[in-house]
């Protein structure tokens, strides 16, 4: 990158590269080059575990060179456009258009326009249909790929589910076809569609009914699957894990060792997409985790380590694991952090072992204000659990607690909203009632409330989202109920959640809106300074799409959903059953107590709790 331009933009360290641990290969010795792109800033992308995994696993293969690319910030984008500089990969500095594959991880719906801007900057046609033989194959993956339809026009292939075994297979197919002369873009896409876990959207036609709902998906060839089954790694102890990875120079969002403990979740909260799409639960063994941790430490020199999974305290051997880690981390001055602690699992013993819990503030997620609603969403925690957990914290002198809730959940009433304020007030009471409470500090409870977004592959996938007006009314109502100044109240922007719902539940017809938005220069919608709902509404109007159709309309149980083309293992029947139980206010046991018959056990897997 040109030094004059680097000196003129903010945070040039985002673009200069050369990080310790980056992988440089001899271009002439590889025949498959992958540019792994993160459609957000360097600081966010460098913290992403999925990117570290795929970068590492692809680079273990001789003949493949995987590099990184990130979205340049707006100041750099402007410079690149002015001077006609293409977007390049960090390692080689080669433009993305020169690669065999350009892969994007889709972590969040609001990154869609950023994906298109990155393609634009690379000179790669946005429409998959317009890409010629010399253009890279553009592949999407990550959580948003579970409903790939709103981005279907822009991707040649979607990778559905876990990628560390699927990606090398895709590259092998590509190299094989190139080597024996069978390769053409069309022939390759056809063959790729036959590998489990790969969806080639151009090979499926979508038909619609008169009322606008989907009639069905039809494969264009008989030899490709009717539905695309997600990939999982069967045995996490035997699969690659990035114990040696790139280390950013500049400060990133999560700049520490990340140790993934297990995949999936035993809980089944009815609003949670990750809890469903990551099933079945598969654990790593304590031995493998400990070996990986030691290796990561020696290779990085990091002084912080976080254990990662959807609900860390649900790891069946959490005590054994933390006990073994305590000595290792203390000896080496590593601070150990555990994210996502459930409040029913929070104990004094755990608190003493985990340094971030010792020093930082405590966060719990009751999600709803009343027991009735917590049962309806299957959160399976009660007020007594919360009061017990905060008392553990108050006993050792803590005075600040953060609580996460959601507004707009199905079946929610004004009583449930008031319940959030009551619960927060009772936590303040509990502080004063606690004999050991910190006499030097006032208690504080931060109540953080997000807006419910109905997500594909959850029991609430059919639900309508509250309108932004209704969400704002609820936000105001809660504000009026909170009178104690020791309670701090934050809430999410309802307009952002609305757009998330549109893209989360959208179908192929939305591609027109996203393309139009990209044409208008939209980028970084997830950044509040670049989010403008009014401009989006203009775009929707112009292309003749009603966004409310996707967000605030309840979908029929018999309707073909845009994501029905994807098979995550968990059945639609199970989701419908769970939805009924939600309306009846009946919780479901967690997977370890009793199998609820979700269907994910058909995918297999080692060290799981499924029958």
């Amino acid at each position: 990158m040109n030094s004059t331009i680097l000196k003129s933009v903010s945070k040039p360290g985002r673009y200069s590269g050369g990080e310790y641990g980056q992988i440089i290969k001899d271009k002439s010795a590889v025949d498959c080059r992958v540019a792994f792109c993160f459609p957000d800033t360097y600081e966010i992308g460098m913290s992403n575990l999925g990117m570290r995994i795929l970068y590492g696993v692809l680079n273990t293969e001789e003949g493949i060179w995987c590099e990184r690319a990130f979205a340049p910030w707006t100041d750099m984008t402007e410079q690149m456009k002015r001077h006609h500089l293409p977007l390049c990969a960090m390692e080689s500095g080669d433009p993305l258009s020169a690669f065999d594959f350009v892969a994007f991880t889709l972590q969040y719906e609001l990154c869609y326009t950023t994906v298109l801007q990155m393609l634009n900057l690379s000179g790669i046609p946005l429409s998959a249909a317009a890409r010629g033989e010399d253009m890279p194959i553009v592949v999407g993956g990550g959580h948003c790929a579970f409903n790939p339809e709103p981005m279907a026009d822009f991707f040649d292939i979607f990778s559905i589910g876990e990628g560390e075994e699927a990606w090398p297979e895709l590259c092998r197919l590509y190299r094989g076809m190139k080597a024996d002369g069978r390769y053409s873009r069309a022939a390759f896409l056809h063959e790729a569609a036959k590998i489990e876990g790969f969806y080639v959207p151009s090979l499926y036609t979508v038909s619609y009914k008169a009322d606008g709902t989907i009639e069905g998906f039809a494969p264009k060839y008989d030899d490709i699957p009717k539905r695309i089954r997600k990939r999982i790694v069967k045995d996490l102890d035997k699969v690659y894990y990035p114990t040696k990875t790139y280390l950013p120079f500049i400060e990133t969002v999560q700049d520490k060792m990340v140790l993934e403990v297990y995949r999936g979740c035993i809980r089944g909260c009815r609003f949670c997409q990750a809890g469903m799409v990551c099933r079945p639960v598969r654990e790593k063994s304590v031995d493998r985790l400990f070996d990986d941790a030691k290796c990561m430490y020696a290779n990085s020199g990091y002084d912080e380590m976080t254990l990662s999974s959807l609900s860390i305290s649900d790891y069946s051997k959490i005590d054994e694991l933390t006990d073994r880690f305590v000595e290792f981390t203390t000896q080496n001055h590593i601070s150990l952090s555990l994210p996502s602690l459930r409040l029913d699992s929070f104990t004094r013993e755990l608190m003493d072992k985990v340094s971030t819990v010792r020093t930082g503030s405590l966060t719990f997620a009751p999600e709803a204000g009343t027991q009735r609603l917590r049962d309806a969403i299957n959160k399976n925690v009660c007020e007594a659990d919360l009061l017990r957990a905060v008392n553990v914290a108050f006993d050792v002198g803590k005075s600040a607690v953060k609580l996460y809730f959601m507004n707009g959940l199905p079946t929610e009433t004004d009583e449930d909203i008031a319940g959030i304020a009551d619960l927060a007030a009772r936590v303040i009471d509990a502080f004063y009632k606690n004999q050991n409470h910190n006499r030097q500090r006032r208690p504080s409870v931060t109540v953080s409330v997000s807006c419910f977004v109905p997500k594909p592959f959850t029991p609430f996938q059919w639900e309508k989202q509250d309108t932004a007006q209704e969400l704002m009314r609820k936000q105001e109502l809660l504000k009026s109920k909170i009178t104690d100044r020791k309670i701090i109240y934050n809430y999410h922007d309802a307009d952002v959640s609305f757009l998330e719902a549109v893209f989360a539940r959208g179908d192929r017809r939305l591609c027109a809106a996203i393309a139009k938005a990209a044409e208008r220069g939209f980028m970084f919608d997830a950044w509040s300074e670049y989010f403008h709902l009014d401009k989006w509404m203009e775009v929707f109007a112009e292309v003749g799409i009603d966004p409310y159709y996707y967000a605030t309309r309840g979908f029929g149980l018999d309707e073909v959903l845009p994501w029905d083309i994807i098979d995550i293992g968990v059945t639609k029947e199970f989701l419908a059953r769970e939805r009924e139980k939600a309306y009846a206010g009946i919780p479901t046991d967690n997977c370890r107590e009793k199998c609820s018959g979700c269907g994910a056990n058909s995918l297999g897997g080692e060290r799981r709790c499924c029958p």
């Binding site: 040109n2 590269g17 310790y20 500049i250 990085s300 020199g301 990091y302 601070s335 020093t359």
Partner: protein, 234 residues
């Protein structure tokens, strides 16, 4: 329950290193983190502070601004052991390959001076600009030798005009290899440190350098030596 730690004897060890190439875009704080991790990877027995959150103790000599390279940076780090116990050749060997392009450890030794004795730094500034010739070089030199030499300095408390002529100890400008080449000795003590970027800024404003197409014009700043009075800093 914090474990009770015994007091650990430690000694300051000095590291002289160079930081060139793309590492010029890495800030002071980033470099601090980079060295902490490098020490762990290399197995250098750094001392950790004995407070609530233990951390290594590193002190850098003079700040180097983002966008400047250097052949002579100094870093003091506390290492476990007495001066007699510390194995300097072993540390030197462990740091021989940093694994980071542009970062080279030049020497490791027990220091006999303090960072506070640093007074000046030498810089080599090279400017590739349209219209570069011997006349332009002479014009640049004339401007930089003016006294007073005023420029607007941006600080945390706002902008103010300052005279930097006293902070420029020596300066000469030549034209060679198609570039404007500046050799300057600038104040580097903590109270009157002068950032070499100001020389580029003045020349841009007064002599019209670097005002053309950024794809064809560029400049580089390289710190070549650090002084304690008349003598090179050790």
């Amino acid at each position: 329950m914090l474990p009770v730690r015994e007091k650990v004897i430690h000694t300051t060890v000095r590291i002289r290193f160079s930081k060139v190439g793309d590492l010029q875009y890495i800030s002071h704080l980033d470099l601090h983190r980079t060295f902490c991790r490098l020490f762990v990877r290399a197995g250098v027995p750094v001392w950790y502070s004995e407070g609530y959150s233990p951390h290594p103790h590193l002190v850098f000599a003079t700040p180097l601004s983002v966008g400047a390279e250097s052949l002579c940076e100094y870093l003091d780090v506390s290492i476990v052991g007495t001066p007699e116990e510390i194995d300097i050749p072993d540390i030197r060997a462990r740091l021989a390959d940093t694994g980071i392009a542009g970062l080279t450890v030049e020497d490791v030794y027990l220091p006999s001076t303090k960072f506070s004795s640093i007074t000046d730094s030498d810089y080599r500034i090279e400017i590739v600009t349209s219209g570069a010739d011997a006349r332009l070089a002479r014009a640049c030199e004339d401007v930089l030798c003016e006294a007073p030499l005023c420029t607007v300095k941006r600080t945390k408390s706002g902008e103010r005009e300052v005279d930097i002529s006293a902070q420029i100890r020596k300066v000469s400008v030549d034209f060679a290899d198609g570039r404007i080449k500046i050799a300057a000795r600038l104040c580097a003590d903590s109270s009157s440190f002068l950032n070499p970027e100001y020389l580029v800024k003045i020349l841009r404003e007064r002599c019209g350098v670097l005002c053309g197409d950024p794809m064809c014009e560029s400049y580089s700043i390289l710190r070549t030596a650090v002084y304690a009075g008349d003598k090179e800093f050790q």
